[in-house]
C-alpha cells in the first residue's frame, strides 16, 4: 500500500475492520502491503491484496497467502461500518459518488459492490454492501518517461494531443499523473526546457496526490462531470493542456472536440486493449478522426514490466456505431 503521507495511512486504517487493519500493520505482511495496488474486502468471501497481477488472500490468523485454508471472513455489518467511517459519518455527503458506485477517501478510490437502491430507475446508492475495492494511488515520477522523451525529441506542437490506453489496472492513471506533473513543472520540449499550464479534470479525485503536484502550473477541477468540466475549464482556467481520465461517452467526446477547436491540447486515457480496438470504438474513433489526438500511447505489461508503445494516430478505418459519427 503505497501511501506517502502517514496521516492519510492512519486515517484509512482507522476506517477498515479491525481484523484487516491489524493484518495490514503486521511486520510479516509489510513487504506485500508496501507493493499492493488494491485491497478487496468481501462479505463472507476472500479478503485479498493485489500485488502486480497476483491476489493474496488474508487468512484468519492475519497473514496474506496465495493459497489459504482458513480465510478471514467479514460480515455485511463490518462492511457497512467501514463505509460509514469512510464517509466520515455522513453518507449523504458522498451521494453523487455513491450513485456512480464508488467513494473517495484521501485520494484512495473505493469501488463498491452490493445491492443498489434505484430511484426512478436510476442507481441512487446501496442498501447492502457486498464488496469494497480500495485502489491505492501510486506516484511514480518517471512513469511517463517514454512519452516525455518523445516530446523532448519532437516538440509538444508536433506531438499534439495524447491518448493513453490500456486494459484496466495497467497503470493509466499513474502514467497520466506523472505526465501532468512533469508538464506542469518542467519538461524538455524539442530542445528547450519549459512548463505549461495543465488543467486536470479529476472527476473521481484520484489523479491528484500532494506529492505528485507539490508545485508547478497545475489546476484541478474535482468531482466535476468531464463533459461539463471541459467547457468550464476552457472558459475560466484557460489551460495550455487539459487532462482527463477515462473518457468513454459521446458527450465527453463532443466536449473535447469543441474545446480542441479552441486550440487546447488534450491528454486523456481510455480503456482499450489494442490499437485496432481503439479505432473500432465509436467515441475514440471520432476523436482520432477529428485530429484531437495525434499521438497514441498503449500501456502494457510484459514479463512483469510496465512499458508503452507510442504511435502516430491514423485515420480510423471503421466505427461500431455510425449514429455518433
Amino acid at each position: 500500500m503505497y501511501i506517502a503521507n502517514s496521516a492519510v495511512k492512519k486515517e484509512l486504517l482507522a476506517c477498515l475492520p479491525e481484523s484487516v487493519g491489524t493484518a495490514l500493520l503486521r511486520r510479516e505482511n509489510a513487504a506485500l502491503v508496501s507493493k499492493a495496488s488494491e485491497l478487496r474486502l468481501r462479505k463472507d468471501r476472500y479478503q485479498s491484496l493485489t500485488v502486480g497481477q497476483t491476489n493474496y488472500v488474508l487468512s484468519a490468523d492475519g497473514t496474506f497467502c496465495e493459497n489459504v485454508y482458513a480465510p478471514l471472513r467479514l460480515t455485511e455489518e463490518e462492511l457497512r461500518e467501514c463505509v460509514f467511517r469512510l464517509c466520515d459519518g455522513s453518507i449523504y455527503a458522498h451521494e453523487e459518488n455513491l450513485k456512480k458506485g464508488f467513494l473517495v477517501k484521501n485520494g484512495i478510490r473505493v469501488g463498491i459492490g452490493g445491492k443498489c437502491i434505484l430511484k426512478n430507475g436510476q442507481p441512487f446508492g446501496f442498501c447492502e454492501y457486498d464488496s469494497l475495492n480500495f485502489r491505492f494511488p501510486h506516484h511514480i515520477p518517471n512513469a511517463a518517461a517514454p512519452i516525455l522523451a518523445h516530446i523532448a525529441k519532437n516538440g509538444l506542437p508536433d506531438v499534439g494531443g495524447i491518448l493513453i490506453f490500456s486494459p484496466p489496472n495497467i497503470g493509466k492513471t499513474t502514467f497520466l499523473r506523472a505526465l501532468c506533473s512533469a508538464l506542469s513543472r518542467s519538461f524538455e520540449d524539442g530542445g528547450h526546457r519549459r512548463s505549461v499550464r495543465v488543467c486536470v479534470l479529476d472527476e473521481r479525485e484520484e489523479i491528484y496526490l500532494p506529492e505528485a503536484f507539490p508545485d508547478g502550473f497545475s489546476d484541478f477541477l474535482f468531482s466535476c462531470p468531464k463533459s461539463y468540466g471541459i467547457e468550464l475549464a476552457t472558459r475560466v482556467l484557460s489551460p495550455d493542456i487539459l487532462a482527463c481520465d477515462e473518457i468513454g461517452n459521446g458527450d465527453e467526446a463532443n466536449a473535447i472536440c469543441r474545446a480542441a477547436s479552441g486550440g487546447i491540447l488534450f491528454i486523456a486515457t481510455c480503456h482499450a486493449a489494442s490499437f485496432e480496438e481503439l479505432y473500432r470504438k465509436c467515441e475514440t474513433a471520432q476523436l482520432l478522426k477529428s485530429g484531437v489526438f495525434r499521438t497514441l500511447c498503449r500501456l502494457y505489461i510484459e514479463n512483469g514490466r510496465h512499458d508503452c508503445e507510442i504511435r502516430r494516430a491514423e485515420e480510423p478505418i471503421c466505427c461500431e456505431r455510425s449514429a455518433f459519427c
Binding site: F84, R85, G89, S90, Y92, E95, E96, G125
Partner: protein, 174 residues
C-alpha cells in the same frame, strides 16, 4: 439565668428556621434556573436540527457542519465545544454521551437526539437527510411543548415557595 438560656434557645431555633428557609429559597431558585436552562437547551437542539436541514443541501459532512454551529444556551454549557472536538464518526451521539452531565435536558429528549444521530449518518441522500431532520424536529417540538407546559407550573410553584420562605422569615423575626 433561666431567661438567658431560653433566649439562647430561641435564637438557635430562629437561626435553624432561617437556614431551612434559605435552603428552600435557593433550592427553588436553582430549580427555576434548571428549568429555564432546560428549555433554552432544548430550543438549542431544535435550532441545531433546523441548521442541519438547511445546510445538508450543500452535502457538507456533519462534522464540518457541527464546527459551524453555535447557540447561546449550548455554548454556555460547553456542549458546542464538546461537539466540535469529537473525532468519532457519530460526533453528536458521542458528545451527548460524554457531555450528558452538562446538559439540563431530560432522558427522553436525549434518547430522541441519539436516535436522530444514528439515523442522520446513514441516510444516503441530502433529501433524505432533510426529511430526517424534519421528522425529528417535529418530535422534539412536541417534547418541548410538554416541557414548556409542565415547566410553567413547576416554575410558578418554585417561585411561590421562595416567596413563602421569605415571608416565613419575616413573620418569624417580627
Amino acid at each position: 439565668m433561666r431567661n438567658s438560656t431560653s433566649g439562647g434557645t430561641d435564637m438557635l431555633r430562629k437561626i435553624g428556621v432561617l437556614l431551612i428557609a434559605a435552603a428552600v429559597f435557593f433550592a427553588g431558585r436553582s430549580y427555576v434556573q434548571k428549568q429555564t436552562d432546560r428549555l433554552a437547551q432544548e430550543d438549542g437542539f431544535l435550532f441545531l436540527l433546523t441548521f442541519l436541514r438547511v445546510r445538508l443541501a450543500d452535502r457538507v459532512p456533519l462534522r464540518r457542519l457541527y464546527r459551524d454551529f453555535s447557540h447561546k444556551a449550548l455554548d454556555a454549557c460547553g456542549f458546542t465545544d464538546l461537539l466540535r472536538s469529537q473525532v468519532s464518526c457519530d460526533a453528536l451521539a458521542s458528545a451527548l454521551k460524554n457531555g450528558r452531565e452538562r446538559l439540563a435536558i431530560d432522558d427522553t429528549f436525549c434518547a430522541c437526539l441519539l436516535e436522530f444521530s444514528d439515523e442522520i449518518g446513514q441516510v444516503s441522500s441530502a433529501e433524505d437527510g432533510q426529511n430526517c431532520c424534519e421528522k425529528y424536529s417535529r418530535l422534539l417540538e412536541q417534547q418541548i411543548e410538554l416541557t414548556r407546559a409542565g415547566a410553567k407550573s413547576r416554575i410558578d410553584v418554585s417561585r411561590k415557595m421562595g416567596v413563602f420562605a421569605a415571608l416565613f422569615c419575616i413573620v418569624l423575626f417580627l
